[in-house]
C-alpha cells in the first residue's frame, strides 16, 4: 500500500472531478509519462469513496484488454491515495459528442469545458463554438472504427461479469492511432456484488443522469447488462449524430425525456444503417432489447469492412487531439504564470510555440514572458562579480602585450587599485550587505511565523481549546473474519492491527462484508497494557 511519490516529477493537473484529481507526471525510475489519479483529501474520510477508489484499482489490475487503461500501481503515501495508470495522449469522446460533425473541419474547437474545469481562459487559437451546421466532420469510417472498439470493450467487461455503470462519452478516450480506451471503473461492480443497493445507495442514483436507462430511473429491477446496452447505444448515437440529447437540461426534464424514449427516426446526420443497429438497444422496455451485443458488433464490423477512408479519419482525429493538447498546454502556461512560476510557464510556452508557431497570441505571450525573464536576470544581484570582470580581461593574456615585467607590474597595480576603488564604492553604497540584512529579516520573520503557526489553532471551536489531556492506550480486536471491518468511534481501522486511542471509553462496531453492523459495544481502553477484544467470543451478544 505504501507509495513513493518521490519517484514522480513534473506533475501537471490534467483534470479534476468531485472526488479525485488526475495529474500527468513523469515516473523518474522508468523515465515515462504516467497518469496519476489522486483521491482528494476531503474524500479520504468518506469510506465509500476510498472503497470505490480501491475497487477501481483492483478491477483495472485484474483486467487485460487493449481498450482498458493499464494500472501500474496503487497505494497511499500516508496522506493521499494514488492510482498510477498508463498515460493516454488523446481526446475524450465527450468533446466529439458536444461538437458533432463540425468538430474537425471548422477549425473551431470548443475547449472551454476543460479550461473552465481548470479555472483558466480558453486557448486563443481554438476559441469560439463550432457551428454544427458547417459541414464535414470525423469521417463515418472512423466513427465506425471507434464505435466497434467501444462495443468490444463493453462486451469484454460484461463477459467478465462486470458492469461499468457510468458509460458516457467522457469515459471513452481515443488516442492518436484511433485506439479507444475505456476510463473510470470507479463505479464498476461485479454482478455477484448485487446491483440494486449500489444503484440506489442512500436513495441517490449513481451514474450520470443523462445516460441512466429508463427502467433504472423508474426503480424497476436491478442494473443489468441490457440496462448498460441502453447507455452504450445512447453514447454511440451521440458520437454519430454530434448531438447531446439530455445534456444541459434539468434533472426533471431529463427523467421525463428518457422515460418518453428517443424517436430515433427523427435524428438527423446518422446513417440509417447505424440507426437500424442502435434502435433495438434504445427500446425503453429492457425486455425488448437484444440480449447480447453481438448483432451490434456484427453490424459495425460489416460496415467497417466496406469503408476505405480510415487513414484520412485518423489524421482528422490527430488534428483534434493536437488541438486539445495545445489547449491544455495553454492552460498550464496560464496556471504557471498566475502562480509566479515564470520559467515553468516559459518552458511550456516554448513547447506550445513549437507545435503552433504561427499563433500570434502565443508569440505575444512568449515575447512578454521572455522579456520578464530577461528583466529578472538583469536585475539579479551581480555587484560582487562585476568589479573583477574588467581587470581580468586586461591581465588575462599573459605573454602577449604584457611581456615586459614593468608593464605587467603597472597593469596589476592598476587592476588592484580599480578593484579596491570599485569594491569600496559598492561597499559604501551598501547594496550587497544590505541584501543580506533584508534576507536576515526575512529569515527571522519566517522563523517567527513558523513558531506562531506550530499550534495553528485559530479557528478551533471553543470546546477544543481546553480539553483534558488523556493518556493513550492500545486496542487490539482479534477473531475478526476476513472481509469484516472494525470501526471505533465511527472511524474505520484495519482489522487485527493496533488501534491507538485516548484512554477512555470508546464505541466499537464490527461490520460484515456487506457493511451491516454485526456487533456494537462500548470498550474501555486503559493507558497501560493493550486492551484485547476478542470478537469471536462476543459476536452475537447485544
Amino acid at each position: 500500500m505504501s507509495f513513493a511519490t518521490g519517484d514522480f516529477s513534473d506533475w501537471s493537473l490534467l483534470g479534476e472531478g468531485g472526488e479525485a484529481q488526475i495529474f500527468r507526471a513523469r515516473q523518474v525510475s522508468l523515465d515515462r509519462m504516467v497518469a496519476i489519479k489522486r483521491l482528494k483529501l476531503s474524500s479520504i474520510g468518506n469510506e465509500d469513496e476510498v472503497k470505490r477508489f480501491e475497487r477501481e484499482a483492483k478491477l483495472c489490475a485484474s483486467l487485460s484488454h487493449p481498450s482498458l487503461v493499464q494500472v501500474n500501481d496503487y497505494g497511499s503515501d500516508g496522506s493521499f491515495y494514488y492510482l498510477v495508470m498508463e498515460y493516454v495522449q488523446g481526446v475524450d469522446l465527450g468533446k466529439m459528442a458536444e461538437l458533432g460533425s463540425a468538430y474537425v473541419s471548422s477549425g473551431n474547437v470548443n475547449v472551454t469545458g476543460n479550461m473552465a474545469m481548470l479555472g483558466l481562459p480558453a486557448f486563443p487559437g481554438n476559441g469560439g463554438t463550432a457551428d454544427p451546421s458547417s459541414g464535414q466532420g470525423l469521417p463515418e469510417s472512423l466513427k465506425i472504427h471507434l464505435a466497434r472498439q467501444m462495443v468490444e470493450v463493453v462486451d469484454f467487461i460484461h463477459q467478465k461479469g462486470i458492469l461499468h455503470r457510468d458509460l458516457k462519452p467522457e469515459n471513452f478516450m481515443a488516442d492518436y492511432t484511433g485506439r479507444i480506451k475505456l476510463l473510470d471503473l470507479g463505479m464498476a461492480r461485479l454482478r455477484t456484488q448485487g446491483f440494486p443497493q449500489a444503484d440506489h445507495h442512500g436513495g441517490a442514483l449513481k451514474g450520470t443522469l443523462a445516460y441512466i436507462p429508463p427502467e433504472i430511473l423508474r426503480g424497476h429491477g436491478p442494473m443489468e447488462t441490457v440496462s448498460e446496452y441502453y447507455s452504450l447505444a445512447l453514447v454511440l448515437l451521440e458520437i454519430f449524430s454530434g448531438a447531446r440529447y439530455y445534456r444541459g437540461k434539468s434533472a426533471d426534464e431529463v427523467v421525463s425525456l428518457i422515460q418518453s424514449g428517443i424517436s430515433i427516426t427523427e435524428i438527423a446526420g446518422v446513417p440509417s444503417s447505424v440507426k437500424a443497429l442502435l434502435s433495438p438497444y434504445l427500446n425503453p422496455d429492457p425486455a425488448k432489447r437484444p440480449k447480447t451485443l453481438e448483432p451490434l458488433l456484427k453490424g459495425l464490423k460489416g460496415m467497417q469492412s466496406n469503408s476505405l477512408a480510415l487513414a484520412g479519419g485518423r489524421e482528422a482525429l490527430e488534428a483534434v487531439i493536437r488541438r486539445e493538447q495545445k489547449a491544455w498546454l495553454w492552460a498550464m502556461v496560464n496556471a504557471s504564470e498566475s502562480t509566479g512560476k515564470i520559467e515553468e510557464a516559459f518552458a511550456r510556452l516554448r513547447e506550445l510555440l513549437e507545435s503552433d508557431p504561427e499563433n500570434a497570441d502565443v508569440q505575444a505571450k512568449f515575447q512578454e514572458l521572455g522579456e520578464r525573464m530577461n528583466v529578472a536576470h538583469e536585475t539579479a544581484p551581480s555587484a560582487e562579480a562585476a568589479p573583477e570582470k574588467a581587470p581580468r580581461r586586461r591581465v588575462g593574456r599573459p605573454g602577449s602585450a604584457f611581456a615586459n615585467a614593468r608593464m605587467r607590474f603597472m597593469a596589476i597595480s592598476a587592476s588592484v587599485l580599480f578593484i579596491a576603488i570599485t569594491g569600496s564604492f559598492f561597499y559604501l553604497q551598501g547594496r550587497p550587505d544590505f541584501d543580506d540584512l533584508g534576507r536576515d529579516l526575512m529569515q527571522r520573520e519566517m522563523s517567527l511565523l513558523s513558531k506562531e503557526n506550530e499550534a495553528g489553532d485559530k479557528p478551533v471551536p471553543a470546546d477544543a481549546r481546553r480539553p483534558a489531556l488523556l493518556p493513550y492506550g492500545v486496542l487490539i480486536v482479534t477473531g475478526i473474519p476476513k472481509d469484516y471491518r472494525v470501526l471505533v468511534n465511527r472511524v474505520r481501522y484495519p482489522a487485527g492491527g493496533e488501534i491507538h486511542l485516548p484512554a477512555s471509553r470508546h464505541l466499537l462496531e464490527v461490520q460484515d462484508a456487506g457493511n451491516r453492523p454485526v456487533l456494537r459495544d462500548s470498550v474501555a481502553i486503559g493507558g497501560g497494557e493493550p486492551t484485547v477484544y476478542d470478537f469471536s467470543r462476543r459476536a452475537g451478544k447485544p
Partner: protein, 229 residues
C-alpha cells in the same frame, strides 16, 4: 612604458569620479551601520535623508521599508503594533516594488508585511479587507505558506467553507509537513459536518507531527463529542 603610464593616467578621472560617488553614498552607509547596530530610529532618519536627495533610490526605499518592518516587529513583540504600523510598511514596500529594483528578498518581505497587516485586520474581524491583502501577498510570493494558511482561516471565518477547504488542501499538497494546514482543514471539515473526514485529517497530521499537542487535544475533544452524542 610611457604609453602605459599615459593610459593609467587616463583612468584617473574615472577613479576620482568613483571616489566622489563613494562620498555621496555616506548616508546609505551610515543608515546601514545604524540598522546593523539595531538603532532603527536613526537608520530610518538616515534612509529618509537619502530619499530626500534621491527619491528613486531603490536601496534607500528598500532600507526604509525594512527598518519600518523591524520597528513594527518590535512593537508586535510587545503587543503594541497597530494596523497603521503595518499599513505603512506595506506602503513602503509597494513604492519600492514600483522602482523595479531587486534585492533578492523584497518579494518575501513585502508578502510578510502584507501578512501582518491582514492578520491585524483578521483579529479585528475585518475579514474582507484582510482577504484582499492576503490575495495580494499570494500573488507577490506564492510560496509563503503562512499567507495561504491565514487566507484559509479568513475564508473559514467568512463562512466560505468550500474555499477554505480547497486552500488547506492545496497547502497540504504543496507542503505535506505543514501541520497547521491539517489542523485547520480538519476544523473546516468538522464544521461542515464531515466528522469522519476531519478525524482522518487530524490523524494524518499526527503522522507528520506525532507529539503535536494541539492535534492530540483536537482529536480527543472530537472523539469525546462523538461519544457523547
Amino acid at each position: 612604458m610611457g604609453m602605459n603610464s599615459a593610459s593609467f593616467l587616463k583612468c584617473a578621472p574615472a577613479f576620482a569620479a568613483l571616489t566622489l560617488l563613494c562620498a555621496c553614498g555616506g548616508d546609505l552607509k551610515r543608515a546601514r551601520e545604524s540598522y546593523r547596530l539595531g538603532d532603527y530610529p536613526r537608520a530610518l532618519r538616515l534612509f529618509e535623508s537619502e530619499l530626500d536627495r534621491h527619491p528613486g533610490s531603490f536601496e534607500a526605499r528598500y532600507g526604509y521599508a525594512v527598518v519600518l518592518q523591524e520597528l513594527s516587529l518590535k512593537k508586535k513583540a510587545l503587543g503594541d503594533d497597530e494596523e497603521e504600523d503595518w499599513a505603512e510598511v506595506v506602503r513602503s514596500y509597494e513604492i519600492c516594488s514600483r522602482l523595479g529594483g531587486d534585492s533578492g528578498t523584497i518579494a518575501e518581505n513585502y508578502a510578510i508585511s502584507l501578512f501582518h497587516l491582514a492578520n491585524k485586520l483578521y483579529l479585528r474581524e475585518k475579514y474582507e479587507p484582510s482577504l484582499e491583502y492576503l490575495e495580494t501577498a499570494r500573488r507577490i510570493d506564492p510560496k509563503n505558506k503562512y499567507v495561504l494558511n491565514l487566507a484559509g482561516i479568513v475564508q473559514y471565518s467568512l463562512g466560505r467553507y468550500q474555499e477554505a477547504q480547497e486552500t488547506f488542501e492545496y497547502l497540504i499538497a504543496e507542503d505535506p509537513g505543514f501541520v497547521s494546514a491539517y489542523l485547520n482543514l480538519g476544523n473546516v471539515l468538522w464544521e461542515s459536518g464531515s466528522e469522519d473526514a476531519a478525524l482522518v485529517t487530524w490523524k494524518q497530521a499526527l503522522t507528520v507531527s506525532p507529539d503535536n499537542q494541539a492535534i492530540i487535544k483536537r482529536i480527543e475533544s472530537a472523539l469525546q463529542k462523538i461519544a457523547g452524542s
